[in-house]
């Protein structure tokens, strides 16, 4: 049965489903209880599942992730909410040296089914540290997996798939799109968690995006179409591991590729995608893979964030350059 939901509501329903389906699922984070989280993603869950399963923690991210590791060792499936992207760093030591490595360290004896939910990205007019895109820090870390959703259906299914998955997953939620609506069929069979998806067919240039930038890429494709230019848009969906076979197939047809993300360009995900696509599709490429990303600066003050963030025009500009080669 299909219904129209926002990404935020879809996540809320997905979390509720996960709590119902598995008694070992425990939500942990700052203000996720009575308040329901600053974005209300956990709204109503503590009331219905109790404060042993929806835990308002002390104010310390390392503590959240470190105790989540212990709970996972005890057989629980912790789902940790980091309030904003810019506040995940105090937990970085636990994430990189423990969460990511314990399965290998224990030769498989300690699975780490931990989900780290992070509202990420900019565009909401916030103060410093509330608009960042830290995905590359996690994707470069062996032992972690990283997912970024772009729509309500993927949000609803993705959060449930992530919680059911045996490996630790950084689950990135496009905060500025929390209120975007879309169809969710709760009876459908969802696509696999770690797969990319062609969301619009095209022949001239392959445009890659994930999370909040998928909408931007689709807008660019629509605008390009009016100028008779056909863009194929791929929603990567999974940042690590990358599912690039559909991308290679696309680029072998189009010969051109543009990758878009909000994170700083230097060593952003676009670098890895460009390196792999170039290696796989070398003889098919008419132009180098071009990257449209945030600039290599700290995220700027809200009044100028729109000039920092990739938008429709910057994507089209890159498409022009790709065509121009």
């Amino acid at each position: 049965m299909a219904q129209t939901l926002t990404i935020g509501k879809a996540l809320n329903l997905g979390l509720r489903k996960a709590l119902e389906d598995d008694a070992k699922v425990v939500l942990m984070g700052e203000d996720i209880g009575k308040l329901g989280g600053v974005f209300r993603i956990t709204d109503g869950l503590q009331k219905d599942f109790g404060d042993d399963r929806v835990v308002d923690t002390p104010l310390a991210e390392a503590g959240i992730l470190g105790t989540a590791v212990g709970l996972a060792m005890r057989g629980y499936r912790p789902v940790c909410e980091i309030q904003f992207d810019g506040f995940v760093y105090p937990a970085y030591n636990q994430i990189v040296t423990q969460v990511a490595k314990l399965h290998a360290r224990s030769r498989g004896r300690f699975p780490m089914p931990i989900v780290i939910r992070i509202p990420f990205g900019g565009g909401i007019g916030a103060v410093e540290h509330h608009s960042e895109s830290p995905e590359a820090y996690f994707a470069h870390t062996a032992g972690l997996k990283v997912v970024a959703v772009s729509n309500p259906a993927d949000a609803y299914w993705g959060i449930q798939q992530a919680i059911a998955h045996p490996d630790p997953i950084v689950f990135l939620e496009p905060k500025r799109r929390y209120w975007d609506k879309g169809e969710v069929d709760v009876d459908a069979t969802p696509d696999p968690l770690f797969s990319s998806r062609v969301v619009r067919g095209g022949d001239d240039v392959t445009v890659l995006a994930y999370g909040p930038m998928v909408k931007t890429a689709l807008q660019a494709a629509a605008a390009a179409a009016e100028e008779g230019r056909s863009l194929e848009v791929v929603d990567l969906r999974t940042v690590s591991p990358l599912d690039l076979d559909p991308v290679y197939a696309s680029v072998r047809r189009t010969g051109r590729c543009v990758v878009v993300h909000e994170a700083p360009t230097n060593l952003g995900l676009g670098a890895e995608v460009a390196a792999r696509v170039t290696e796989e599709c070398f003889h098919s490429l008419e132009a180098p893979v071009l990257r449209v990303g945030g600039y290599d600066t700290p995220y700027p003050p809200a009044k100028i964030e729109e000039e920092y963030l990739p938008d429709l025009d910057r994507v089209l500009d890159a498409v022009d350059r790709a065509m121009g080669f």
Binding site: D31, L35, P58, L59, P90, G125, V127, Y295, K303
Partner: protein, 379 residues
């Protein structure tokens, strides 16, 4: 799950909004009762002239007025966000006025009252919340660091700065601000360990306003926060944060001790966040109106006003003039906020480095060329 043992202390069992937060507190340092009666405390003698008292009253009223105007501006869409200090005026003004000119302050994001006492132009603070910059004041000239939004990070900066003061042999102290929730951050505890080990001239001023957004203090500590200091080897004291005189006396004493080489002190200013955490928050979801009512009776301004009137230190004209100053300040803040210059897009590339790399300058040129390409277009 094993039941939580009853807490032996003044705080509520978890979960627990709504229960009374101020039962008998023998430890609480108070020099001015909620009714406005001046009382003495053996360890904290304080003599303040009537003029000083009037000055403190004026500070309290003006920062509250500023706060009210900022909240209004945010509602009208002129600020992206505002973190209100309502209810914490005495804690902030008392602490700020206790500082010597050379002392350095390390605020969180809520210390507008301290900013006021350091001579920071309110418009610089407004600029941060309007999103034009990250706080435009000169932290060195004002001896007031920029706001730090990452909870607790500034406590380590304050401690390191204090270690610099030691090395300079300077007669200065450092005042580090933090909230009750911040006391759970590892970095804050490290700051106290460092300060103790190196006997750094830093005072940790914790405004326990009972909440970290929606999370009550009981979730951060089951004993009074000021007990924490003893565990690290330095003194801790709990002061009535709604009593500007007590805060002034206690903070002054701690800063003096720090300057004299006696090392750090932890001050817990027991107060209450009368408003929402920020303008994006909805306290009705997690705390009871009754709690707010109870705290209204401890209003920091009312008690000083009562004292001033009763003691004859101030008359109706004075109170009227302060009100007038408040209106003027509010008008200036409103006007100034609306007139704040918007940053230029390319400014995002400025100051990323003292010595910017060629690649960044290339990005800047690209940015300029790209935006120039739209000139005239459509507009």
């Amino acid at each position: 799950m094993t039941a939580l043992p009853p807490t032996t202390e003044v705080v509520d069992p978890v979960p627990g909004a709504g229960a009374p937060h101020l039962p008998e507190q023998p430890d609480l340092v108070q020099l001015l009762t909620p009714e406005g009666d001046r009382v003495e405390h053996p360890d904290y003698p304080l003599d303040v002239s009537d003029e000083e008292l009037r000055g403190l009253y004026r500070d309290l009223v003006l920062v509250r007025r500023w706060d009210a105007e900022a909240t209004a501006l945010q509602r009208q869409g002129e600020l992206g966000l505002w973190a209100s200090l309502l209810g914490q005026e005495a804690a902030q003004v008392g602490a700020g006025r206790a500082m010597a000119a050379e002392d350095m302050a390390f605020p969180t994001y809520r210390e507008h009252g301290v900013a006021w006492t350091r001579g920071v132009d309110p418009l610089h603070v407004m600029g941060l919340f309007r999103g034009v910059d990250n706080g435009g004041w000169d932290p060195v000239a004002r001896r007031f660091n920029l706001y730090t939004i990452v909870i607790g990070a500034q406590t380590l900066h304050a401690t390191g700065y204090a270690m610099g003061v030691q090395r300079d042999g300077a007669d200065e102290a450092v005042l580090a601000f933090l909230g009750d929730g911040a006391t759970s951050q590892g970095e804050v505890n490290e700051a106290m360990i460092w300060a103790s080990t190196f006997s750094a001239p830093v005072v940790f001023f914790c405004q326990n306003n009972q909440y970290a957004i929606s999370v009550p203090i009981e979730r951060q500590s089951r004993v009074p926060l000021f007990h924490r200091a003893a565990g690290f080897g330095f003194p801790g004291v709990r002061v009535d944060g709604n009593d500007v005189l007590a805060v002034l006396a206690v903070t002054r004493a701690a800063l003096t001790a720090a300057r004299e080489g006696q090392g750090p002190t932890f001050i817990e200013a027991f107060t209450y966040r009368m408003g929402a955490h920020t303008t994006s928050d909805d306290p009705s979801r997690y705390r009871l109106a009754s709690e707010l009512e109870e705290w209204k009776l401890r209003d920091p301004i009312a008690r000083l006003k009562a004292h001033l009137s009763r003691s004859g230190a101030a008359d109706a004209d004075f109170f009227a003039s302060v009100e007038a100053d408040g209106d003027e300040l509010a008008a200036r803040i409103r006007r100034g906020t609306l007139e704040l210059a918007e940053p230029a897009g390319p400014s995002m590339f400025d100051h990323v480095y003292a010595d910017p790399p060629a690649e960044l300058l290339r990005q800047r040129d690209e940015f300029l060329a790209y935006h120039a390409s739209f000139e005239g277009e459509g507009s």
